[in-house]
């Protein structure tokens, strides 16, 4: 984008700055809009599975429901509990929201269409998602209230546990792609499965990792069946209990932006990102712009997320910890050995 601005006769430094800001807006604004629509989609899918109608009053088919909710929340009073730690109480939702937006900087939307094309893209995402814990843990502590504190403890333990196995799963992908750069990872998937399927997921060695990553991403974003952090039967509303108005809305937006990010990561890391599903030129796959494919895949994974939410009952806390530490961690560790052994035999010998 920088070149475009330079061709308009701008100074290179200024062009770089303007292009970066334009890129940020080009990602952040549609992201916020899609978060609003995805909340609506989530409620509609959930309702359809439960044989209800879902939001259907505001606007045609209830399409404006999220905006009405947003406006309502915006007009409410921000209540800060007297016992709360004021500064940290207000910073916590801001951290959650900002961190949810920051990770999008390295997501490739098309060949080369990425805001920050850095060598360590995947590590950047890991680093940023590990920051997300602070929003939760601070909100729980700063609320100075029992249930938010319990919930914050649970949530941070859960996020840290699943980050460990996510790290190992990502290493498996990186070994195959031979790069930490997100764009390179997508390109490495071209014709990877059986010579014509553009996805790592069709590799028998990587398919178990793809499944584990999908489940771990449910746990990492605290979605059902791992939504113990806001288990309403025991913890009221979890760490958000004391929040109201915009502070609450920031948590809400951040949460769904994180869900979208995890869906995107599933698509980018295992299912070909912006590549069309098959690497065959018979059908004009490659004439369709890459972001259409990527968005289709993201929406598919979001549907899976909602589907799981509507059908699977909530895990108990010890079961959640068992799944993370005693099932995913050993399996992903063994898989690192398998993958590196396989690559040593085939690629590097």
């Amino acid at each position: 984008m920088t070149e475009t601005f330079i061709s308009w006769g701008m100074d290179p430094t200024w062009a770089w700055g303007v292009a970066t800001i334009a890129g940020i807006l080009l990602i952040a604004l549609p992201l916020m809009l899609s978060v609003a629509m995805i909340i609506y989609a989530d409620r509609k899918i959930w309702a359809a599975i439960a044989l209800r109608r879902g939001p259907n009053v505001v606007g045609p088919f209830g399409l404006l429901q999220s905006f009405a909710d947003g406006l309502k929340v915006f007009l409410q009073e921000t209540i800060i509990p007297t016992g709360a730690n004021r500064g940290l109480f207000l910073i916590a939702p801001i951290i959650t929201f900002t961190v949810a937006l920051m990770a999008w900087a390295v997501i490739p939307f098309n060949s080369g269409a990425v805001l920050a094309d850095i060598n360590v893209g995947l590590l950047y995402i890991l680093a940023i998602s590990s920051l997300g814990v602070y929003g939760v843990i601070l909100s729980g502590w700063a609320s100075n209230s029992k249930y938010p504190f319990f919930s914050a403890m649970r949530a941070s333990a859960q996020m840290i546990s699943y980050e460990v196995s996510i790290g190992f799963i990502l290493i498996g992908v990186v070994l195959f792609a031979d790069s930490f750069n997100m764009n390179e990872i997508v390109k490495a998937q071209q014709g990877h499965g059986l010579g014509f399927v553009n996805a790592f997921g069709f590799n028998l060695l990587l398919f178990p990792l793809a499944v584990m990553f999908l489940i771990s991403s449910l746990a990492e974003t605290a979605r059902a069946p791992f939504d113990l952090t806001e288990a309403e039967s025991e913890l009221v509303a979890g760490y958000q209990t004391e929040y109201s108005s915009m502070a609450f809305a920031l948590f809400w937006l951040g949460e769904y932006a994180n869900v979208l990010l995890m869906c995107t990561l599933n698509a980018v890391l295992f299912w070909g990102g912006w590549l069309p599903p098959l690497n065959i030129d018979l059908i004009p796959w490659f004439d369709i712009p890459g972001w259409v494919w990527l968005f289709g895949k993201i929406l598919f994974f979001f549907f899976v997320f909602s589907w799981v939410k509507a059908t699977v009952p909530r895990y108990r806390y010890d079961q959640l910890m068992r799944l993370g530490w005693k099932v995913f961690l050993p399996i992903s560790l063994i898989w690192i050995f398998l993958i590196s052994g396989y690559l040593m035999l085939t690629r590097y010998s």
């Binding site: 060598n119 360590v120 590590l123 680093a127 590990s130 602070y134 843990i137 601070l138 504190f149 980050e163």
Partner: protein, 203 residues
């Protein structure tokens, strides 16, 4: 220009937040300042071109170590009066540590300003066509392989030690045996009977 601005921004924030770690009254606030210091140190690493180290700093220190700090500190029952009570008692020891640190700093800066130690010439030349990760990996797995594996063994021993110290057998705990549960079939648990009218059935 923008690099210089960024450097001074990061450096100032690192020093200021490091100072706030000590000056903050509330231990939780201290940990938060520490996290800010880590984060800006990662920024400095990025400016130095060490992107891999920067990301590891954030992942390991901010993402794992500081969270555990925060966990422990939040669980503490903080009594501010008690915190300040030991001030006079610990003053001599604290002063001693401060004097030693100050002396070391003065020596280091003095030796550096006196010249003769050409540190910059001893730093490894930067190979530009390889990424950070490749360079570190090539060194770590060839030249320093024994040290690397020794570090791994030390960590393993520490891990086993921690497990041995905290592990205890508790009697009378009802735990879930998932494989047993999965093996259970409906016919093991239920029985279909057709009792006659007024006969009832025994369990």
């Amino acid at each position: 220009m923008i690099q210089l601005t960024a450097f001074y921004l990061f450096a100032t924030v690192v020093i200021a937040s490091a100072a706030m770690v000590i000056f903050a009254r509330n231990p939780v606030h201290s940990v938060m300042w520490l996290i800010l210091a880590f984060f800006n140190a990662a920024g400095l690493m990025l400016l130095a071109g060490a992107e891999f180290i920067a990301m590891l700093l954030v992942i390991v220190y901010v993402g794992a170590v500081a969270v555990l700090f925060l966990f422990v500190v939040m669980m503490l029952n903080i009594d501010f009066a008690e915190l300040r009570a030991g001030f006079v008692r610990y003053l001599p020891l604290g002063a001693l540590v401060a004097i030693i640190l100050a002396a070391e700093l003065i020596f280091a800066v003095g030796a550096w300003s006196a010249g003769g130690v050409d540190l910059a010439a001893r730093a490894a030349p930067v190979v530009s066509d390889k990424s950070n990760i490749q360079q570190i990996g090539e060194l770590l797995y060839t030249r320093y392989i024994f040290l690397f594996e020794a570090a791994g063994i030390v960590l393993l021993v520490a891990m086993i030690g921690a497990i041995v110290l905290t592990h205890r057998q508790r009697g009378g705990v009802r735990t879930q045996n998932i494989s047993l549960q999965n093996q259970r079939r409906p016919q093991d648990a239920t029985r279909l009977v057709d009792p006659g009218v007024g006969q009832g059935m025994e369990l």
